[in-house]
Symmetry: C2
Amino acid sequence: MSHNCAIIPIGGGTSVTNALETPVNETRLVISLDMALLDKILWIDRENLTCRAEAGIVGQSLERHLNEKGYTCGHEPDSIEFSTLGGWVSTRASGMKKNRYGNIEDLVVHLNFVCPKGIIQKQCQVPRISSGPDIHEIILGSEGTLGVISEVTIKIFPLPEIKKFGSFVFPNFESGVNFFREVAAKRIQPASLRLMDNDQFVMGQALKIASDSWWASLKNSVSKMYITSWKGFKGDQICAATCVYEGCRSEVEQQEESLNKLACKFHGVVGGEENGRYGYRLTFAIAYLRDLGMNHGVLGESFETSVPWDKVLTLCRNVKELMRREAKSQGVMHPVLASCRVTQVYDAGACVYFYFGFNAKGLINGLQVYDKIETAARDEIIACGGSISHHHGVGKIRKQWMLTTNGAVGIALLKAIKSELDPANIFANANLIDIIGSPHSKL
Amino acid sequence: MSHNCAIIPIGGGTSVTNALETPVNETRLVISLDMALLDKILWIDRENLTCRAEAGIVGQSLERHLNEKGYTCGHEPDSIEFSTLGGWVSTRASGMKKNRYGNIEDLVVHLNFVCPKGIIQKQCQVPRISSGPDIHEIILGSEGTLGVISEVTIKIFPLPEIKKFGSFVFPNFESGVNFFREVAAKRIQPASLRLMDNDQFVMGQALKIASDSWWASLKNSVSKMYITSWKGFKGDQICAATCVYEGCRSEVEQQEESLNKLACKFHGVVGGEENGRYGYRLTFAIAYLRDLGMNHGVLGESFETSVPWDKVLTLCRNVKELMRREAKSQGVMHPVLASCRVTQVYDAGACVYFYFGFNAKGLINGLQVYDKIETAARDEIIACGGSISHHHGVGKIRKQWMLTTNGAVGIALLKAIKSELDPANIFANANLIDIIGSPHSKL
């Protein structure tokens, strides 16, 4: 404080919310606090199945070390290659295998948090506690605005005996969603279960990253005829689900059997293991595809929401239609990619991921057009009962919906927390809410 | 505020932390805000499996209504007969079947919270969200200090196809704890799983509430001989576990099979269904026994903690020994009951419940002696790595450990939250922390 500096902590830098941007009206010296050297595993406790690590450790590094010792932390976000443990906590991250291992708030047992007022840490590393409002939950999702996470104790799990991929083909998106709803109600979800819409299914084929892609495997077998002729699936409606089973052999066998049986009820066809593996890996590839696309004038990005089950179909349809319509009215000349995926199932709803991209050739300011369309899409998401974010957080690009999300008293509460822990606004990235009047938000 | 009043909300009045007591230095008119008439179910959403109810609804009433429609909310605290939905949220409650349904923080989808600054509510009823620190988590555990919960949306579940009791007998407490640890590591816990120590096992027999109690069933069969002679279990070391299985038939069968198999590894003997039912119901009876005991000069109460797995045995032994030692040094002349039970299993630890009682005849101030011993026991719990509370909350009787638990910065944070939401201290029960200098705590 005496040095009149602002601090912006940086973990893996994988944020998609402009969280690491310096506010344009910041006049102080800005220190980018790189967490890269805080990358040690401090201890692994085999009896309590916990691991203490420094917050800057990168996901894949943490996971590799744990794997070598026979464990996994189970947290597998798309960004695991680069994102950090501290980043997961500060953004309220979710991983693709949350059904088995939980989201980051379920995995954290203890935290050390350094803020301008001092260090926040509980005295005990217990599995659950009832001692007033949970201070861990105030750090989770604070997005670098209150201080910096220095160390985390997380749960670890023995490596599963079996890891197996699986897939299903459904005649249309609706059948797939209804299947997912039933999987959640019956609580038979495998480690990961994700549903692509038709556009994404077709795109997955077009990419042909693997020779044994969906299309290839369907073309070269009786399957394609079976699906398109005998079962009457239509090429412009078909969609697919990929799943990952993890556990002991009997558990995985039972899960697979239950899911295969239930899929029939929703006119699903079992698509096999290889297609599941391909579909799962495609997610990691998509992040790279975005950069590749940009080199060729194609702008694309993904954004997500969570929504109650009864609103999933309407939200998906409305938001995709809106994106196509808006693109047209903004002068986009080429056909756009407006696609979605159900990536997480919960008891009371689901997480939906949208992928939106277009060829910006001929537009004066493509990025501005992209922003306009994404903003309109988010307004539609909120109007359809969806949330501001499921796991990417708010950063700066979603601040305008914070007031609607948390209400005026909620926002005042978040500001009071900020005032208490960081009165001089040293952690000044201005994510979530504005403290010194950043231009990014109406709050 | 203009009426210069203090408000203390009351739900079912089952708190065991003096949470409803008015601070002695309160000079304003105190309104006891009885929630009893806010007892309606507002809607049941069969598609999203959620239910919206007013916060004053009593557990058994909520559950009865849901049962009639084919659902359960799955939350079953010992106090379900009297405690309320709002009370569960405000104390961060946990139920006996949390393994299947989750604790209260896992069950809440949406809240309406009325505080002096206005109403806190999210705009969406989504299953999970990433929008900064979670405002629900600030309400959970606030213990009536910030405002009052008016409505709650909670998850509901289809009634399980099968509900079945089960039990195990172990040669000693250590075997039982090791069994529980393995059940947690393998993630094969049934809806409820609880382990009584030897004192409680013996007390359970002595009470003979049911004719088919443990002892009776063991006496009248070859089981007793099998256990005491052939297996070599010692009467002063034997302990027992009770469990509740819920789910579809195949699920329950698989759980039962896995548990029975695993119990063998820890020298456990399957104790049958009737003993499980009796053990489970005994919990509800214990609350009444306390009142009965008081009429005969016996003071007794229970208190709980959570603790990492590797510290469970030491904590249980140390705390029980301390209670016996302290009772002696405080002049208690009769033998005391110092018993414990492991009531909840988590990945990284367990919840331990202590029962402590003694005959106060001959003591000048029995209640003061009880308080002294419980305080010493709590100090020992904290020293052994246990938490201030697992689910009973803090109220006034555990305020002295809040600073150790949450640290100075954590406490300042809780005070800042209080200042923001209730600057005039209208919700003035003085639980958790002191705002106007209550005599109950050093904070």
